[in-house]
């Protein structure tokens, strides 16, 4: 199977800091892959390059065999911070992503409402970001990223700013949405549990220079449930990832 996204020998330095050092990885169509690593290991840089927001020093990123040269609507991005436009309501924020699509006003509105409902925000269409909790804001951002149907969803610590309970809720929601709307997902996180519960594969990244140290397949069946975190398979994978994350660079 040819990969959906193919990354070869990607390197990027900021001054003396080697954020990425010859990183190679493949994402297959409709696969959910997480990258875990300690903070500052260059995983956000990796995502930013795939999104087309940052330029690499060397190496290549291709989507369906076509090199990435900049941002594009084939790749939706959910950022770490809350990036809702404060002057627009929840529904208008989703519609913001649709304004150049050949849709009628009514179609735009109904698409936005449909995706808000998908993330459990029916009834909050007219709320401004200020009136929503952090978790709800991030759900609007996810709805927005899904609304224009990108083939790839890139997420940079999407739940990093949320409290533990909300995080668990959001992970379940994200898994459910992904199981319904198959698309290729790359998620950056420092939460190992989050990576395991959501992903098909977990990539472990080392720090300075940022390299992919391990590529582990998650053996848990789907649909995934929060209760799975107590299963032996889960615990075993968890501790081996934890060990890899903290192992000093070779």
């Amino acid at each position: 199977m040819t990969p959906k996204v193919s990354i070869r020998d990607l390197s990027k330095s900021f001054g003396d800091v080697h954020a990425l050092d010859r990183v190679s990885l493949d994402l297959h169509a409709n696969e959910f892959v997480s990258v875990v690593g300690t903070s500052g290991c260059g995983k956000s840089t990796l995502l930013s390059i795939i999104a087309g927001l940052t330029e690499q020093d060397s190496g290549s990123v291709t989507v369906d065999g076509v090199p990435v040269t900049g941002p594009g609507r084939d790749r939706g991005v959910v950022f770490q911070g809350f990036t809702l436009l404060p002057w627009l309501t929840a529904q208008q924020n989703v519609q913001f992503a649709l304004q150049d699509e050949p849709l009628s006003r009514a179609e735009r509105a109904s698409t936005a409402q449909q995706f808000l409902a998908l993330v459990g925000l029916a009834g909050f269409e007219n709320a401004f970001p200020r009136e929503l909790s952090g978790g709800m804001q991030q759900r609007v951002a996810i709805a927005r990223s899904l609304s224009y149907k990108p083939q790839i969803l890139l997420m940079d610590e999407p739940f990093g700013a949320l409290d533990a309970l909300t995080r668990r809720e959001m992970q379940t929601l994200l898994t459910r949405v992904w199981e319904q709307h198959k698309l290729t997902v790359l998620m950056i996180t420092h939460d190992i549990e989050e990576a395991i519960i959501t992903s098909d594969r977990v990539l472990v990244m080392s720090r300075r220079p940022g390299r992919i140290r391990a590529d582990l397949t998650v053996p848990l069946a789907r649909p995934r449930l929060a209760a799975m975190s107590s299963e032996p398979e889960f615990r075993q994978l968890y501790s081996s990832i934890l060990e890899l994350v903290h192992e000093p660079a070779a």
Binding site: L53, T83, W87, L88, E131
Partner: protein
């Protein structure tokens, strides 16, 4: 107010230095009835409106350009920063030379006092657009022009409005400065006349009117801003 009444009505302070509230009130009524006050006020309001609008119309696009383009910023900002520190008051004689003593000179002084400050405040407001929102625009496939109009301008609008509100306050000061020196009408002119004839009650009356006019315009802009940027108020 109480202190003022006590000090003046008991004769503690000579009315020449500080007239009583009653005297000021009487002066207010006289000025209103003889038509001088409405004439002065409308002359001043006209000048401030014209001078401030002229400055704003020029400062908004230039400030936005400086805030969004590194090249324009490098070319203009040092210059504007430099001019900004030149005392406008010192330019009053020169502006009379350049523009005479008519309304044009008042516009010029108000323009000089507000334009440069506005440009820098607006450029700053534009620069404060969160990086994340610009990144978002890029990932949604927007071009630079669309990012500017759909994200940057909308995001910095409340801050730009604040800059205008603050500089409008300063414009009142420059108006009075201009009218104190060379004018044949206006609130500042009447204050100069009052000074010339030791009419301290006139001076106080007009100073109070200037205060009230400034306060009213500020409150109007504040209320208007709150209406336009309702989404900013937290109501969680």
């Amino acid at each position: 107010m109480v202190l003022w009444s006590l000090a003046t009505l008991t004769g503690l302070v000579s009315p020449l230095f500080l007239p009583s509230p009653v005297a000021v009130g009487e002066r207010f009524v006289t000025q209103l009835q003889n038509g001088e006050l409405p004439t002065d006020a409308s002359a001043s309001v006209y000048r401030i409106a014209a001078g401030f609008l002229l400055a704003t119309v020029m400062a908004v696009p230039i400030g936005i350009l400086i805030g969004t383009s590194a090249r324009v910023e490098a070319a203009l900002e040092p210059l504007i920063d430099f001019v900004r520190y030149m005392p406008v008051v010192a330019f009053v004689p020169l502006t009379i030379l350049w523009a005479g003593i008519d309304d044009g000179q008042k516009f010029l002084i108000i323009w000089m006092g507000t334009f440069f400050q506005q440009v820098l405040l607006i450029a700053d407001a534009v620069r404060q657009t969160p990086r994340g929102l610009i990144d978002l625009g890029e990932t949604l496939g927007l071009n630079n022009r669309q990012i500017l109009t759909r994200i940057v301008l909308r995001s910095s609008a409340p801050r730009i409005w604040d800059a205008l509100r603050i500089t409008l306050g300063w414009a009142w000061t420059w108006l009075v400065v201009a009218e104190l020196v060379a004018a044949s009408s206006g609130l500042g002119y009447r204050i100069t006349l009052g000074q010339r004839y030791f009419q301290t009650d006139t001076i106080i009356t007009y100073v109070l009117i200037l205060g009230v006019l400034g306060l009213v315009t500020d409150q109007i802009m504040r209320a208007w801003g709150r209406r336009m940027f309702r989404y900013e108020r937290s109501s969680r």
